[in-house]
């Protein structure tokens, strides 16, 4: 296999890792305000992702960095062309990180409530916008060649079409389902019960929305009949999620939802192939894998590094999930973390009082 194609596949793998893992982080975050009824339940939800969300997010940085290194032309055209959606995603991610880490630092309902809203919104925004972005890659964008470089000339509103908006709805619903299934898988008691019911309902919506989107993607935008294969796998998995959530088999539901995401990424990258950014203006303007790729030397170095490090990363990330394999319930939540709301008025006095 030639190196640019290998790296096209590796970028797909990195995005898959990101969407499968951060997908449930986003789902849990999206549910934080609407689903959890009280402080203990919110802490249960936060604990399900607490030890792993930070590591999950690094898949995004790796995907971004690998695109920069392996396909500079793709990185440059895509990131400058999709400026405003990316800006919104970045703002949401920043707020979300601080919300997760800082909410417990002060034991004050007002403080925590604000951060919980920030977390919830900070999960919804990227969950929707990643779908819009990927749908754009499938649909093709207003790309021209200017001074020898591929440039996205359409501006922000060219990124919004019924198909791309539906793509955003799809990722939001899929991540919500993923999150609800994950909560059902990782918790016990009341929370598990309710998350199971919610996952059951969401999985039907997710099957319908994703099904419509995928069929449009295949029939309207794909030049290959081979991409029916991942589409079928994705659809079958989503049906499986519906069945598994009804039977309350949370483990199976989670695995099948993950398989559906893997298959969806395979579909998206399959439709794009042999381009990384198809042009909707003229196929001659499309940015191909080979045009976008780095030199053989860079791709060789990157391949060796990836071969050495990716297994190590997978090993210790997998081990993390093993360490925190136990289910969590409200019974495990004791006391309060964090300092009381008001700062001590006179530091010396309060210190002396101890």
């Amino acid at each position: 296999m030639d190196l640019p194609l290998l790296w096209f596949l590796l970028i797909a793998v990195l995005w898959t890792g990101y969407l499968v893992l951060e997908g449930f982080d986003f789902g849990v975050g999206m549910l934080l305000k609407p689903f959890a009824r009280d402080e203990k339940e919110r802490r249960v939800l936060l604990r399900t992702i607490g030890p792993v969300w930070d590591g999950n997010e690094v898949w995004l940085l790796t995907a971004g960095g690998a695109t920069f290194a392996a396909f500079p032309e793709w990185y440059a055209t895509m990131f400058s062309g999709m400026y405003l959606p990316l800006l919104l995603i970045l703002l949401a991610l920043i707020v979300r990180v601080c919300a997760i880490e800082w909410r417990a630092k002060i034991d004050d309902p007002v403080w925590r409530n604000r951060w919980d809203w920030a977390h919830t919104v900070g999960a919804w925004v990227p969950a929707v916008l990643w779908g819009v972005a990927f749908a754009n890659l499938v649909q093709g964008m207003e790309i021209e060649v200017v001074d020898g470089n591929h440039q996205l000339v359409g501006g922000f509103f060219s990124l919004l079409t019924p198909f791309t908006v539906l793509g955003g709805v799809m990722t939001a619903v899929v991540f919500l389902t993923h999150g609800a299934v994950f909560v059902a898988l990782k918790t016990d008691g009341e929370v598990r019960e309710r998350a199971g019911v919610l996952a059951q309902r969401l999985s039907v919506v997710s099957l319908v929305v994703a099904g419509v989107w995928a069929v449009v993607a295949q029939t309207q935008f794909s030049a290959h009949s081979l991409t029916w294969l991942p589409l079928t796998v994705a659809a079958a998995s989503l049906v499986g999620v519906v069945v598994a959530t009804r039977a309350r088999r949370e483990g199976w539901a989670f695995v099948l939802n993950a398989v559906a995401i893997v298959a969806a990424v395979a579909l998206i990258f399959g439709v794009m192939y042999p381009n990384v950014m198809p042009s909707s203006i003229d196929p001659a303007y499309s940015l191909s894998i080979d045009q976008a790729a780095s030199s053989p030397a860079t791709l060789t170095v990157m391949s060796v590094v990836a071969l050495l490090l990716v297994p190590v990363v997978l090993a210790y990330q997998g081990w993390t999930y093993w360490v925190f394999r136990k289910r969590i319930s409200t019974d495990h939540i004791h006391g309060h973390e964090g300092l009381p709301p008001a700062a001590p008025q006179d530091a010396g006095q309060s210190a002396g009082a101890r």
Partner: protein, 511 residues
């Protein structure tokens, strides 16, 4: 303003902001790891208190550092797409490897450290924070590999077919990884990050010594805070020496590789032998040499900093006018004759001095602390309390000014030409690196929202850290049991206390 200026402001603001947080993470995480290990090894509760106290501050700081770091990787593509096209073949690799080799490590093991107490054996739990510390330091290496390549490109060739800089074979990658600019920048950055971390620990503990003595808790002052202060002070002394030595090395390298930066830092207009170091220079802000007047000078010192010679032929340094003339001639065909090759004189001059001055400001605390706390002593003097607080921000500011100097000093280049091989075409003017499809309005929008969001989060960050510092530590067992003032560290390593701690997690960073 044009998109170019706005994109530069945005890069400057987001980077300096990010780099206020990063040195504390880099410097503090190994110190917390040391404290945690000492607790596991000795079972002494003073180490437990210190681990918990500084661990919480580390986590508050880490969150914002991570959050603002994501922006750094993405804005190359968003605001600097033409730069990304030109250098991505080389510059992208260290960024990707940073994520793969370092960032995964620190993020994953930080999660294990926060939530892992009670689920992991004690030694493994403390190994997690060591892996976080190693990860943060490795991150710095890869990021500086990328930055150093922009300062001094090696291992690269220009490919006329693709019109971009490309890696000079696989061997080129090893040149990028062993770039002498990288070695210098890494050692200087890491030592200054340790100075930041050490000063933070010493300053906070120094202030708490005074406070707890005054509150009648001699025991806490002696055992917890004095111990913590010593960890910080020793780090400061070693790191401070390291900063000076590596800074000198880096300065000499800069005179070879980016003479305009160092000449501008001295506001040296015409080339001369035995050039003097000025403590005060005034000038107009027109960035021309005409208004520059050196007021207080130390002869020969600039020459020594740049060349290692105080006088004689070997001490000759070129002035910015010489460099302007030389570059104009060399690049006339490509860029015309209007390009200003001299970096902003006022900014480079003052940031260079502020970097050195503020960095050395920490020495006051190191010297005072070592003297005041000698031989088991503690103090309740107001001046030491005030000094401890006053010195806290200095190394942060020193590090920030250092970066402003480094980055502003290489303008107008974003990829500075390598003087050893100036015709290989691997260089890029900053103005040619900016995204062409992004409008000024769009950049302005993102500049404004980033600045506002960063400002708001910065306030919360500061207040949270302040709250946690003010909170202090839980009372020691001895303080609860007696009001005695005896200080013997030996007998609190009781095995009974150890067993109890295994039952319930006591660090409890989990949320």
């Amino acid at each position: 303003m044009e998109a170019l200026d706005l994109a530069r402001w945005q890069f400057g603001i987001t980077t300096v902001y990010h780099f206020i947080l990063v040195p504390l993470t880099i410097g503090l995480s190994p110190l917390v790891a040391i404290m945690h290990t000492a607790w596991v090894r000795t079972g002494n509760e003073k180490w437990h208190r210190l681990t918990k106290f500084f661990g919480k501050v580390l986590l508050i700081n880490f969150a914002l550092g991570v959050a603002t770091g994501i922006v750094q990787e993405f804005q190359f593509g968003m605001n600097w797409s033409e730069y990304s096209r030109f250098v991505g073949d080389i510059f992208g690799a260290p960024l990707a490897i940073e994520a793969l080799a370092a960032f995964f490590l620190e993020s994953t093991f930080l999660g294990l450290w926060i939530f892992g107490e009670g689920r992991l054996p004690k030694w493994l739990h403390s190994a997690c924070i060591w892996l976080v510390a190693i990860g943060t330091n490795l991150s710095a290496y890869w990021i500086l590999a990328a930055n150093s390549w922009m300062q001094h490109p090696v291992g690269a060739v220009y490919n006329p077919e693709t019109g971009r800089a490309e890696l000079d074979g696989v061997a080129g990658f090893f040149e990028v990884m062993t770039n002498n600019t990288l070695i210098a920048a890494f050692s200087h950055t890491i030592t200054s990050a340790f100075l930041v971390g050490g000063t933070f620990v010493a300053g906070v503990c120094g202030w708490w010594i005074v406070r707890s003595v005054r509150a009648g808790r001699q025991h806490e002052a002696r055992k917890v805070w004095r111990t913590g202060a010593y960890v910080g002070l020793v780090t400061m002394v070693i790191a401070g020496l390291g900063v000076a030595v590596t800074g000198d090395f880096q300065g000499k390298l800069m005179y070879e590789q980016q003479p305009a930066k160092m000449s501008a830092a001295e506001a040296l207009c015409e080339g001369e032998e035995s050039a003097a170091f000025s403590l005060l220079t005034i000038g107009d802000l027109s960035n021309s040499c005409e208004g520059v007047r050196h007021l207080i000078q130390i002869p020969g010192v600039t020459s020594f900093l740049g060349t290692g010679h105080f006088s004689g032929e070997e001490s000759y340094l070129p002035g910015v006018n010489d460099i302007q003339q030389e570059y104009t001639e060399r690049y006339a065909d490509q860029f015309g004759t209007d390009v200003d090759y001299v970096p902003n004189l006022a900014v480079t001059y003052w940031t260079f001095r502020l970097m050195i001055g503020l960095g050395m400001g920490s020495l006051a605390l190191a010297a005072a602390g070592l003297w005041v706390l000698r031989k088991g002593r503690v103090t309740d003097t107001t001046w030491f309390s005030r000094l401890s607080l006053a010195v806290l921000p200095l190394p942060f500011l020193g590090a920030s000014f250092g970066w402003i100097f480094t980055e502003m000093g290489r303008q107008p280049w974003v990829v500075h030409p390598n003087p050893a091989n100036p015709v290989d075409q691997v260089y890029l003017l900053t103005q040619d690196g900016v995204s062409t499809v992004v409008s000024a309005g769009t950049v302005l929008t993102s500049l404004v929202v980033f600045t506002l969001l960063y400002a708001a989060l910065g306030v919360v960050w500061f207040l949270l850290i302040k709250r946690y510092v003010l909170e202090g530590v839980e009372p020691l067992a001895d303080d609860l049991a007696t009001t005695g003032d005896q200080d013997d560290d030996q007998d609190d390593a009781s095995p009974g206390g150890d067993r109890e701690e295994e039952l319930e997690p006591t660090l409890s960073f989990a949320y």
